[in-house]
Homo-oligomer: 83 residues x 2
């Protein structure tokens, strides 16, 4: 399982679209607060691999490319534990 | 905007994995309760078009293929208004 504190330290760029509290401020962007951690990791990996296209993949693929597997686990831990 | 009551009538198959209350019972599946409606529509369209691969797309693509645009709007209205 990831380290939520380490995830928080990486999450500033996420907050621009998904909200500092994990509730997206932009229509069409998903809320992340309380989301299943394993799902968040799966989504980030699919963006990084290029399997996930469509939607906001033009935004997310470059972001995910900059994340290691450990970063993904940490971000997932951080957002999944938000209320 | 979609019709949440019409969405509920189509949502039985969704509940098998995403939970009758929109909280997934299976690790790795996203919660849908309270999710942004426009995001849900975007995700379903990307599964239907085949743009979204990876993750559980082998499960979701056939499901999304059976949904009209109106069905997607209705399902999104239903899940987004759940607490």
């Amino acid at each position: 399982a990831g380290d939520a504190a380490a995830g928080k330290a990486k999450a500033a760029v996420c907050a621009a679209c998904h909200g500092a509290n994990g509730i997206a401020m932009i229509p069409g962007y998903p809320n992340l607060a309380g989301q299943n951690a394993q799902y968040i990791v799966s989504a980030l990996k699919a963006y990084k691999s290029g399997e996930r296209k469509g939607g906001q993949s033009m935004v997310m693929a470059p972001q995910a490319t900059m994340l290691s597997d450990a970063d993904m686990e940490n971000l997932a831990a951080y957002f999944s534990q938000m209320k």
